[in-house]
Subunit: 172 residues, 6 copies
Amino acid sequence: MPSVPKFTHLDAQGHAQMVDVSDKAVTVREARAEAIVRMLPSTLERLIAGDMPKGDVFAVARIAGICAAKRTHDLIPLCHALALSAVEVELAACANDAVRIRTRCKLNGRTGVEMEALTAASVAALTLYDMCKAVDRGMCIEHIRLIEKSGGASGHFLADDTDVAATLRPTT
Amino acid sequence: MPSVPKFTHLDAQGHAQMVDVSDKAVTVREARAEAIVRMLPSTLERLIAGDMPKGDVFAVARIAGICAAKRTHDLIPLCHALALSAVEVELAACANDAVRIRTRCKLNGRTGVEMEALTAASVAALTLYDMCKAVDRGMCIEHIRLIEKSGGASGHFLADDTDVAATLRPTT
Amino acid sequence: MPSVPKFTHLDAQGHAQMVDVSDKAVTVREARAEAIVRMLPSTLERLIAGDMPKGDVFAVARIAGICAAKRTHDLIPLCHALALSAVEVELAACANDAVRIRTRCKLNGRTGVEMEALTAASVAALTLYDMCKAVDRGMCIEHIRLIEKSGGASGHFLADDTDVAATLRPTT
Amino acid sequence: MPSVPKFTHLDAQGHAQMVDVSDKAVTVREARAEAIVRMLPSTLERLIAGDMPKGDVFAVARIAGICAAKRTHDLIPLCHALALSAVEVELAACANDAVRIRTRCKLNGRTGVEMEALTAASVAALTLYDMCKAVDRGMCIEHIRLIEKSGGASGHFLADDTDVAATLRPTT
Amino acid sequence: MPSVPKFTHLDAQGHAQMVDVSDKAVTVREARAEAIVRMLPSTLERLIAGDMPKGDVFAVARIAGICAAKRTHDLIPLCHALALSAVEVELAACANDAVRIRTRCKLNGRTGVEMEALTAASVAALTLYDMCKAVDRGMCIEHIRLIEKSGGASGHFLADDTDVAATLRPTT
Amino acid sequence: MPSVPKFTHLDAQGHAQMVDVSDKAVTVREARAEAIVRMLPSTLERLIAGDMPKGDVFAVARIAGICAAKRTHDLIPLCHALALSAVEVELAACANDAVRIRTRCKLNGRTGVEMEALTAASVAALTLYDMCKAVDRGMCIEHIRLIEKSGGASGHFLADDTDVAATLRPTT
């Protein structure tokens, strides 16, 4: 019978603790994550067509995502503080009613950076929501998930379907 | 022709700015938001059946959500700092492969608190992901959205479908 | 049978939540707290006699305490964010082997400020420890406690013995 | 003999403390501040002519300034935490070798907001420096100062010369 | 005559500064600290007997302690920022009127982590106070101290009496 | 024709991103920066002559500068988080109407620390302004600039004129 992975955030009595990473190797670790923000087609049109200065909402969301990546350990209680060597946040319109956010984080260190990539995607999405909510309160953030992860003992991870955006059915 | 709502985060030249709320009334404002975390049925089973101490992951996620609500203005660049009078975060299993997170924020103040409720839901979801990712890296955070909002000049908002969780198709 | 006070940080199912203070009155609230740092008599002598510039350690500890009071809600998960109207931190040598730290916080608002006063005292004490630990690693922080509290529905509180420092037995 | 203003951050023994503002009136308070960043004319040309996407550096600096205004009390030890009702940050090229940053903060509250306006200007300037330093390490931030202040007991303040930028001599 | 240790936070003129650790070796460093929270026996009974859900207060205090360890350098002015490799916080009832908090921090780095361990203990204690203060305002935090420290040039430190809790006299 | 330096904060489409420093060498990096605060001669006299306790304003400003250096990555969106090995902040009166602030930051790491040194100088200057503004609202912060930088691939930088303070013309 294959052994099942153990929850490593728990101590012997089941209490939540930070994992001890003292003995892990310092390697290059990288993670990519994604979020989709669904909105009314009319909202996306205004984003694209320039009812606001092109790129500005995207610029604020990008910066918010980058800053959030650096604060992940302040938000997620059991995450280790770490010194990311790179953070990227990209936003793009997809289908006729969605914006796709993709992030990438890198570290030379002892822990994976998937939470940093996911946090960057989430906060970029929340920022986009904040900047458009006056015209579309029903927006929904969907599919925040890990796309790829490399480095460290757990090996390479690649999501089964790396292009959720491509499968979005346009709102009609 | 009905006038369209304006993006209020922009100044005359289209640059992002914090909205001036000096002239808004101090009223009781409230918002409720939601997030769904999808996972393998086996992951949910372990969460429920006690492969880790019952409630502990939920306890950490709940605390992380509450703390995040208080830091919303530090994460979302154009949000106002404010002194929430209440924050609630609830987590519950739903279907056979999901956890539903519901949040509620209240304020006696000049601005709506939907971003605080959404941020609490997002960070609680990220924390849940962090605590279970060792056994299920493919988890996905879905349907982060506003459920209800009251107080302030923009009136009452209630999402069309307030029970997304009820419509989740079980994973087979 | 007298009713006992209830733990108000818990919801109906016993989960930790921030207390809803929406309906509490805005009044002037004030709290005073205290901490004692015990050390070797020789350490206190050096603090007093000027083996370091008089007042400098005290200055850093005072500032650290004031700054910590403002961050209480970031440290204590269920504390409300609030806008203190005043913070005071005083340090004084007492007996031949101790420093007494006293703090006072004020607020025009809906919640008591005892946690802010206690946090200021604790962090001032930790800072004093940090600045002297190279010469005295056995220092001990004692008697962090609330001295007085006023304002709000729970009435006036005054500690039974408001001068613990006076009862400290000198180290011989 | 006219009485001189007193330093209000000091207690009876001269120790630094936060001013007690409990008894100050809640009024609308506003402050405007300014910073000038001097650079090589060639650096400004590249900023303007689009060697980088027009507006992007400005967008990041603007956001950084807004976020910094909200954190002023975390940076300046004796500043009160407060809930700004508005923050504006504007950047513009001036002369042939400078960028002028102007900020405005508003509050319905008990304390002036000049430190918030000055902090926003400073951090926007530092951010601009950060984004251009790879091509011009000799840039200099000049003339961070208060332009105007209104509200509160100390009355209206207007800087003698409100247009330093106009007096900048072009670099030749 | 033996030379006395020097205060290393001071520059040549006695001004407080961060110690320069550039030349210190990167080694595994570890520290353990402790705090005792004294309360009414009836308060401890309610904590233990389940007048609130078993473990919940402890869960919140544990998380608060872990998060505080990561923020030590933000609270203690002269502490270096560092990336802890492990944080543990344990709480246990002792005698009939006290809770003992024990913490452990680890680092692969250039500075000791005793302040991190002490800060975790202090903030866990403050959080416990916060969650119980509605029923027992006279609680007192005692004996915050370093238990053990290893790694680095200053050698191994072990407190004389490593079990203060065992010597607590029960409240009668 | 010499090649011009490129703006390294931009991705292929010109969007702001954090520079990827994964491949940079870990070396000792150091930076020194400066700020000048101009004030009324009478303000400086009071600072020096002891109308407030000697050294206290300087002590608070020094601590604020040190703390700000540690938070640079939280303030400047595209700065990397890093673990400074040393921070120094010095303040001195110069001419008859100015205070000069000089800072020095060190790191064993992959990125330069000029933003940390500049941020420390800026926040120390803002703090000095805050503590004296009640008597002199027209103070001006001038000449925030990099003095020297070493370590890393970009080589050694030394400002042309390293003693601006010496050239200040006294106010008459």
